[in-house]
């Protein structure tokens, strides 16, 4: 090698140096490009925002993560503007304003969500009811000083809660409430429905994989770059007292998960604690021994959310039967710290030993 080089003239040596330098530069550039491509595919972005009255957390994998995350948040906000009774001029707000008079034209997302809620209302025998607004308004968990309604007040408003008086025409699409003073409250479906919107948005954005949590509802899309399943932890209903936030973890390849728990929203008055899961039949917070229900649905976030509420209100036995009727799976947690997992629930491990797997 040395002798070869010595035979070259100085000019040729310089030229050789130059060529080698250029080759090295090109190689380095190629390495940098390939490396940045690979890391781009694996790049991971975590974002937080507010939508559907809750915290929306997202993790997005792949290029253009910020755009995909913004689009998903936007999609959930747009849905909220359709289905929230609190948003002026939303489909639901207009329906509630016209209760007892007009049919309202609604977006097909609204009509299909209403239809889903009506189906679950029927199958739950009315303990879950999307027309529960007159009663849920009596339970104001956000006021500074909380005062629970009296039995008299509840009896006064119960007659206006009746899912059979909510009519939906999916073909038009339009909906109407038959009587004045009735109102629709889709609070039990919003977060799950939001996850449906997020996942649809990810599919349109072209990200490789993403997960969205709207409040306690979670939806997943695609496969993570490392090929592992999505791991979703289940909150310990007694986390404040136990000092341990996680009770167990599930692994899913696809689908949606939602949880309804009495611990999520509580207020106290005169030494009594009231929670936000109101039985539409009785008008009172449901007290049947369950402290939380987590529902997994392969195809629908809205369904997972609605079923979580309905199953909680129905109790352990009837709740399991309801999930079975929809081909959904669930985890039921009792006040006695028993954890009942339905047979088809995706891989779930209990990690807190103060709870016991039963059933």
């Amino acid at each position: 090698m040395r002798s070869f080089i010595r035979k070259l003239t100085l000019r040729q040596q310089k030229r050789l140096s130059l060529i080698l330098a250029v080759v090295l530069a090109v190689l380095l550039l190629a390495i940098v490009l390939v490396w940045s491509r690979i890391s781009e595919r694996n790049s991971r972005l975590e974002t937080t925002g507010y939508a559907m009255g809750s915290l929306m957390q997202q993790t997005v994998y792949g290029p253009n993560g910020q755009e995909a995350s913004d689009a998903a948040l936007q999609a959930v906000t747009e849905l909220e503007n359709l289905i929230s009774w609190r948003v002026e001029d939303s489909d639901v707000a207009r329906m509630n304003d016209e209760a007892g008079s007009e049919w309202i034209t609604v977006d097909e997302k609204t009509s299909s969500l209403l239809a889903l809620c009506l189906d679950v209302a029927e199958k739950s025998g009315g303990v879950f009811d999307p027309t529960v607004l007159p009663i849920s308004k009596l339970w104001n968990f956000d006021e500074d000083v909380f005062t629970p309604p009296t039995q008299e007040t509840i009896d006064e408003f119960l007659p206006y809660v009746n899912y059979e008086d909510l009519r939906v025409k999916e073909e038009e699409p339009s909906a109407s409430l038959k009587y004045h003073y009735m109102g629709v409250d889709l609070g039990s479906a919003g977060k799950g429905a939001g996850c449906d919107e997020a996942v649809a948005s990810y599919a349109a954005s072209g990200v490789s994989a993403a997960i969205a949590a709207v409040g306690g509802s979670v939806g997943v899309y695609g496969t993570k770059p490392d090929g592992t399943l999505w791991s979703i932890t289940v909150r310990n209903p007694y986390s404040a007292g136990d000092g341990e936030e996680i009770l167990g973890v599930m692994e899913i390849a696809e689908g949606f998960v939602s949880t309804s728990g009495s611990y999520e929203k509580t207020r106290e008055a005169d030494g009594v604690t009231y929670h936000h899961l109101i039985n539409a039949d009785t008008g009172w917070p449901e007290n049947n021994g369950l402290v939380s229900v987590t529902v997994y649905s392969k195809d629908s976030g809205a369904l997972s959310d609605v079923l979580a509420t309905a199953a909680f209100l129905l109790g352990l036995e009837d709740g399991q039967a309801l999930l079975e009727a929809y081909g959904a799976e669930g985890i039921f947690i009792t006040e006695g710290r028993a954890v009942i997992v339905t047979d088809g629930f995706p891989s779930f491990s209990l990690t807190l030993d103060s709870f016991e797997l039963a059933g």
Partner: protein
């Protein structure tokens, strides 16, 4: 000096470059194991990052605002200490200790989530 293709100085340069590259790569891939960074956000925008691995004794973080939210940062964990919100869900969320965990005071729009360290789960339900 006799003309050579590769001089000792060149070797030193190449080694230095390689060392720099390795150093950068290592730094990017690793993080002090087990330590989490608490990302505190107001209205979805980051306002503060607290490296919980660097906290040696409990420290109060007063975020002020309409709800006078106060966080408590301790070695390896963080929690909502107090807030003027009506339902106190944030305070009852307990301590955040692992990457991926989060707690929020919805009325105040203050959220705290843990990043880094050994990654926890992808999300939480409930």
């Amino acid at each position: 000096m006799e003309r050579r293709l590769i001089r000792p100085a060149d070797l030193v340069l190449v080694l230095a470059a390689a060392a720099l590259a390795a150093g950068l790569l290592l730094r990017q891939n690793s993080q002090s194991p087990g330590s989490c960074v608490a990302v505190i956000e107001k209205n979805g925008a980051e306002v503060m990052r607290v490296d919980l691995g660097r906290i040696t004794e409990p420290e109060e973080i007063d975020l002020g605002g309409a709800y006078r939210v106060v966080l408590l940062a301790e070695p390896g964990q963080i929690s909502f200490l107090s807030s003027d919100c009506p339902d106190q869900t944030c305070v009852r969320s307990g301590r955040l200790t692992k990457a991926g965990q989060a707690a929020v005071c919805l009325p105040a729009r203050v959220s705290v989530r843990l990043e880094g360290g050994s990654p926890g789960a992808d999300a939480m339900t409930g």
